[in-house]
């Protein structure tokens, strides 16, 4: 029979053990679950590797558009790794296919965070970006630089979400205000109904007002199966001075080519946000429409000398990928990421990474981009964009760098 003191000691030991097991159990659960981010700041970081996750549309209807975004990012990271990595660590990206479907994107986030990634990076498309952002909410896992201009990502600011691409609302406002102010005229706006399109329409309308133009009509095109020929006929009847477009590139090409055939193109210019800065779009565009196009772009075009390093990386590490706008955007995102990882020091944590990003003010961290600025109140990195035109060979050239304005 044990003495009463011994029993109390054994009881206390048992309680302590049980408590320890409970804590260990909880820790195990959180370190493999979605909540790992906040609890384990070093997830995805080893002595030799920084492991990132990416969900991108590698199959399905937008794969041809989105695939180059991940290829561009991977090519640049491969170049960085060949040169020794970041603070001696290789930066690797685990890319999963979401087929541009929200449920698959969310499932990919769960898979990747269970595997233990440092951050979600890149990807393409508003539908996937919205799902990824929602799935990561509260996890503390950073979500960096998707090709998506979705208001919900950055308004209000989420501590872990950083975007490079300005909102389409601000892009089209800026394009109209910058160009229509110089020679006011009538404006017809066309917007694809992608998530967040309502703010894009209001941005375009505000831009016309701000520039002293006359708004003739604001048309909407379905995001899929758009009746581009019919919209060409409808827009053409207005004999407009300016056409302001935030339209998916294939539909825009069909519409503008239809207007060119009927000699109904706008008298002064076609103004656009970033979707029309793709070389594949330019190649499909009629010469008459091409000479009127003025589009904003987050990156310099592939033919610009500033893009050479990235183009070379693509040729070496992803030779099948054409160095088009999305590939360069992926490459540029990787350049900004590498700069932030370097600034985060040789023992990177998620908070050091997001802190390093918020310390970027007017930083020229990528030759492809204008300067990059983040702060605690603003997680959209670009304060300006390139204004591109098409030359006689239908290659993009930079006409100007335009400061971004925020639509009222």
């Amino acid at each position: 029979m044990n003495a009463p003191g011994t029993s109390r000691w054994l009881g206390a030991t048992a309680l302590l053990l049980a408590g320890s097991l409970l804590v260990a159990g909880c820790s195990t659960t959180t370190s493999t679950g979605l909540g790992a981010g906040s609890g384990s700041a070093m997830a995805g970081v080893s002595q030799t590797e920084i492991r990132l996750g990416m969900s991108n549309a590698l199959s399905g209807p937008v794969a041809a558009v989105c695939l180059p975004a991940s290829e561009g990012a991977k090519a640049w990271l491969a170049k960085v790794n060949d040169e020794g990595g970041v603070h001696g660590r290789k930066v690797t990206v685990d890319v999963l296919d979401d087929g541009y479907e929200a449920p698959r994107a969310a499932a990919n986030v769960r898979d990747l965070t269970h595997k233990g990634i440092f951050a979600m990076f890149g990807g393409c498309g508003t539908v996937s970006a919205a799902a990824i952002s929602t799935a990561l909410k509260g996890s503390g896992v950073p979500y960096l630089f998707p090709y998506a201009a979705l208001p919900d990502l950055v308004e209000p600011v989420q501590p872990n979400v950083f975007s490079l691409l300005p909102l389409y609302r601000d892009q089209i406002f800026t394009a109209i205000d910058h160009l229509v102010t110089k020679a006011p005229g009538t404006v017809y706006t066309v917007t694809s109904q992608i998530p967040g399109y309502e703010s894009t329409v209001s941005g375009a309308e505000a831009g016309v007002k701000s520039a002293g133009g006359t708004l003739l009509s604001s048309a909407l095109l379905p995001a899929t199966n758009a009746p581009a020929e019919q919209e060409a006929a409808k827009a053409g009847q207005h004999n407009v001075d300016y056409l302001a477009m935030t339209v998916l590139a294939p539909d825009a090409a069909r519409m503008l080519n239809g207007m060119a055939k009927s000699h109904d193109l706008p008298a002064k210019a076609i103004l656009s946000s970033a979707p029309l800065a793709a070389q594949s779009f330019a190649a499909a565009l009629s010469p008459e429409a091409a000479q009127l196009l003025k589009t904003l772009s987050p990156t310099v075009p592939p033919s610009d000398p500033a893009a050479q390093e990235c183009v070379d990386a693509l040729r070496k590490h992803s030779p099948d990928t054409k160095p088009d706008a999305l590939a360069l955007f992926g490459c540029a995102g990787a350049q900004v990421l590498v700069a932030a990882l370097q600034a985060a020091g040789d023992e990177p944590t998620r908070s050091k990474l997001t802190g390093a990003l918020e310390e970027m003010h007017g930083a020229q961290v990528s030759s492809l981009l204008p300067t990059v600025s983040f702060n605690a109140e603003d997680h959209v990195g670009l304060d300006s964009m390139f204004l591109l035109t098409l030359d006689s060979a239908q290659q993009y050239t930079v006409e100007a760098t335009v400061p971004l304005q925020t639509a009222p």
């Binding site: 199959s59 399905g60 209807p61 794969a63 041809a64 558009v65 695939l67 180059p68 909407l220 095109l221 379905p222 899929t224 199966n225 758009a226 009746p227 020929e229 019919q230 919209e231 060409a232 006929a233 409808k234 053409g236 009847q237 294939p250 090409a253 069909r254 080519n257 239809g258 055939k261 009927s262 000699h263 109904d264 594949s280 190649a283 499909a284 565009l285 990928t321 054409k322 088009d324």
Partner: protein, 289 residues
């Protein structure tokens, strides 16, 4: 409004030609081919690839693409439709949905990065201006092509042995078979002809639609609406129905919106079926009890 009417007729003629290909096959085999749009896209894609990679001129590339697509139609029949074909027509029609989905996925992979691709018109530019209005070349060419296609099919059906056999097959497949007509051979020919015609539509549509794996997807609904309005058994009805759908869509889009255009087309569709259950030009089929 005039430009909306011109656009409506131009697009509607292509709906009509596509409908013609569907009805021709339906009359001869009893199968409504949901893969017709994919076949048209295949034709345009082949023309693009032959032009770009084999350095053929657009006309030669298109002619070869039409023949190759006809061959692909034959293969689709032999590999998918001919196998276990002793089932009802509905089962065979469902197989064409499978063909549509498979074809879309394969074209997505084949066309890959950089979609959509431009492909110039194979027909000479005859665009003109009338009363201050620009008339695109396609608006002038498509009616001529439609008349030529209908005329060619009319000649095949009325002046060739295989055409007469096909008409027999269309009228009563069982009796035609009992009388010695080789129904499977005729079905194979029908699939080839229909696929070749779908390729013609794809190539004609390519300059305005641009070539991508989904270039015909949005048209399929309107094409089938035109076919049903015209009458599933009437070749001329398919063309007239297609033009009608194109006109209704174009004019209502101009006056209102895409949603209203879709509503208007399917209101006409429903009204037609209520008044004439077999479509405007479709034949009523009677059965002796």
């Amino acid at each position: 409004m005039t430009s909306a009417i011109i656009t409506g007729i131009t697009v509607g003629l292509l709906y009509g030609l596509m409908g013609f290909a569907i009805v021709a096959l339906f009359k001869m085999t009893g199968v409504a081919n949901f893969a017709a749009g994919t076949t048209a896209t295949l034709g345009a894609t082949l023309a693009l690839k032959l032009s770009d990679q084999a350095n053929l001129n657009a006309l030669a590339a298109s002619a070869l693409a039409i023949l190759l697509t006809a061959g692909a139609g034959l293969m689709a029949y032999l590999l998918v439709m001919r196998v276990r074909d002793d089932v009802d027509h509905l089962s065979l029609t469902v197989r064409t949905v499978g063909l549509f989905l498979l074809g879309q996925a394969l074209l997505e992979i084949w066309l890959g990065q950089g979609q959509p691709f431009a492909f110039g018109s194979v027909l000479p530019d005859i665009s003109t201006t009338a009363a201050g209005l620009a008339i695109p070349s396609s608006t002038l060419w498509f009616p001529l092509v439609a008349v030529a296609v209908i005329g060619a099919f009319g000649l095949i059906f009325s002046h060739t042995r295989i055409g007469l056999l096909m008409r027999g097959l269309a009228a009563d497949a069982d009796t035609a078979g009992l009388l010695g007509a080789r129904t499977r051979l005729l079905a194979a020919v029908a699939w080839s002809l229909s696929s070749g015609l779908a390729a013609v539509v794809g190539i004609l549509a390519a300059p305005s639609r641009l070539i991508s794996s989904d270039m015909m997807t949005s048209w399929l609904l309107y094409v089938f609406a035109g076919v049903v309005i015209g009458g599933m058994t009437s070749l001329a009805g398919a063309v007239i129905g297609g033009v009608g759908v194109g006109l209704v869509q174009g004019v209502t889009y101009q006056l209102a919106s895409d949603e209203v255009a879709l509503l208007a087309v399917f209101a006409v569709f429903l009204l037609t079926l209520l008044v004439r259950p077999h479509g405007l030009f479709g034949a009523m089929v009677g059965e002796r009890l």
